[in-house]
């Protein structure tokens, strides 16, 4: 899949709370095809302390308006700087990067936690276009940690799990009543302990499972070899061979 380096214009911004914001970015021309689970490398303008691009997953794609939406959690100086951008400014992206979700299965469960819910919206829409309604389980410490909620409603059966019980069932996503229904494929993105727990359950129950990893990156295109995961076949670049991996390739990582 061809990669591009392009200036996008920020045409929308939404601040959910002090942790999460989203940017709607418009491409000057027709967007290329983008797989669910792929990501962009965003140049961070206006902060001399930030040199490297930041990898951000693609939350939503609108091919009619040629826009991408990025849902971002503020975790450091790069994302903090991005949170200060305003509508009208331009943002330079290298995209679309990485290997996305496979979109297989009929009885499908999506499990997202925190910022990891970001790629699941585009994934839900891709399933919808195949006529498949997944079960979508979204988790977080509190309701504030699940910034996007009702946007998922048209695309599947939704369940929420929060540690404090402020939204949906109280507890972890893996304790949710919908989690142990019968599925043939599980797709997950979120905190590492959550993904490992989901992947372990899937493997114990012979369910196909894909996990989307989030390692620190420099180049985003498989050149610097900084973002590797210790896969069963040795070190693999999360940016190029991932970020989405079949859990079967990561038993080392899952059991560590």
């Amino acid at each position: 899949m061809r990669k591009y380096i392009t200036d996008f214009k920020i045409i929308g911004k939404r601040v959910f709370n002090e942790m999460y914001f989203s940017l709607v970015l418009q491409h000057p021309e027709r967007l290329p095809g983008i797989d669910a689970g792929q990501f962009v490398e965003v140049e961070v303008p206006g902060n001399k302390q930030v040199m490297l691009r930041r990898p951000i997953s693609i939350h939503d794609v609108d091919t009619e308006n040629n826009t991408l939406t990025l849902l971002v959690q503020v975790v450091g100086k790069g994302t903090k700087t991005l949170s200060c951008l305003e509508i009208g400014q331009t943002l330079n992206l290298v995209y679309p990067l990485g290997h996305g979700f496979c979109l297989e299965g009929k009885n499908v469960l999506l499990v997202g936690g925190g910022a990891g819910i970001a790629p699941l919206l585009h994934l839900s829409k891709c399933f919808a276009s195949k006529g498949i309604r997944p079960t979508i389980l979204l988790g977080g410490r509190t309701t504030n940690h699940i910034p996007v909620q009702k946007e998922f409603e048209p695309y599947g059966t939704i369940g929420f799990a929060t540690e404090d019980g402020s939204l949906g069932e109280k507890g972890m996503v893996t304790q949710h009543s919908l989690f142990t229904n019968s599925y043939d494929h599980i797709y997950t993105c979120g905190p590492t302990p959550m993904m490992k727990a989901v992947a372990r359950y899937a493997m114990q129950n012979n369910i196909e499972c894909e996990v989307s990893l989030e390692n620190m990156m420099a180049c985003g295109i498989g050149a610097c070899l900084c973002c590797v995961v210790d896969s069963d076949e040795g070190h693999k670049c999360v940016c190029k061979e991932g970020p989405v991996f079949n859990a079967k390739r990561l038993t080392n990582w899952i059991n560590k």
């Binding site: 040199m51 390692n215 620190m216 180049c219 295109i221 900084c226 210790d230």
Partner: protein, 299 residues
């Protein structure tokens, strides 16, 4: 206008890519006309496949980054059998960075690369700070540097570039030692040994604690060392360290480098090498320079 020579190699222009920052070139094919480059120094290659160091291997620092990749690579046999055939027909100088932990390993790898028709040179990496054995160990001692270069020289017949580490008291001494041992060119600088600590987690950012610093932060150190070495040896010097623009490249050329390598900047702008070549052309036009060699070493 921009053509330069490094020993027997003719470069269309002085802009090459630094080892470990440009993969095998293929990763950048969507962003760069690879055939427009003066040369591509491909990923450091060792006698056997290497896994490199554990994650995390990278930390961003002011105007730079630390890495501790540790020479992860497919090994020389896979390079020769697979990678070489994918890239050998590119119309640029494809140079293999040869790394190792022992003189035997350097010689084994160099001998196998010597057999490849379309690889006109190797860059002998005696300066990697991220491997436990060998690597920089050879590059910090003039006698050991000379020894590894002279052994490789015996079995390698094409252009032999030696990549030097800045983590020494006197880089000129090392440069002279490898020149005396038969190097055709030296490239400098490899990364500066550095360290960064996450104070919230109270632990180093890198799994290896220390790593190699690169990026604009190291450029003034690199320009100084290139200038010192270019005045002390008669073989051509290739300059690198923090180059991100044509002006940066020109600093190295004026300091005495016959060519330059662009490294970390490729991560930030994958098309940066094309902009640097354009910028050099533009500079020559603006200053009415017909031959870039006219400004090499003017300082």
């Amino acid at each position: 206008m921009l053509e330069t020579k490094i020993h027997n190699l003719t470069l269309k222009n002085p802009v090459m890519t630094a080892s470990g920052t440009f993969g095998y070139g293929e990763e950048f094919a969507d962003f760069v006309d690879l055939n427009r480059l003066g040369g591509i120094i491909v990923k450091g290659t060792t006698g056997e496949r290497r896994q490199g160091n554990p994650y995390p291997r990278m930390a961003e620092t002011p105007s730079g980054m630390l890495n501790a990749v540790g020479l992860q690579n497919v090994g020389v046999e896979t390079f020769c059998k697979e990678v070489y055939h994918r890239i050998k027909d590119l119309d640029t100088n494809i140079i293999v960075n040869v790394s190792g932990s022992s003189i035997e390993e350097y010689c084994k790898t160099a001998a196998m690369i010597d057999e490849l028709d379309n690889i006109p040179a190797i860059e002998l990496n005696i300066s990697c700070p991220n491997v436990k054995k060998g690597g920089m160990g050879f590059g910090v001692n003039p006698e050991m540097a000379a020894q590894v270069v002279s052994e490789v020289r015996k079995i390698y017949h094409k252009t032999l570039i030696v990549k030097l580490t800045p983590n020494v008291t006197n880089i000129v001494e090392i440069a002279k030692a490898v020149e005396g041992a038969g190097a055709d060119s030296v490239s400098l600088i490899n990364t500066l040994l550095g360290m960064a600590i996450d104070v919230e987690k109270q632990r180093p950012y890198l799994s290896t604690i220390t790593g190699g610093l690169s990026g604009p932060a190291v450029k003034p150190v690199a320009v100084r060392m290139v200038w010192q070495v270019a005045h002390a040896v008669s073989i051509p010097v290739i300059g690198l360290g923090g180059i991100a623009s044509a002006a940066d490249a020109l600093e190295f050329l004026m300091a005495g480098a016959k060519a330059v390598q662009v490294g970390t900047a490729n991560f930030i702008d994958p098309a940066v090498t094309m902009k640097i070549i354009d910028g050099l052309e533009d500079y020559c036009k603006r200053h009415r320079i017909n031959d870039i060699n006219d400004i090499i070493g003017i300082i």
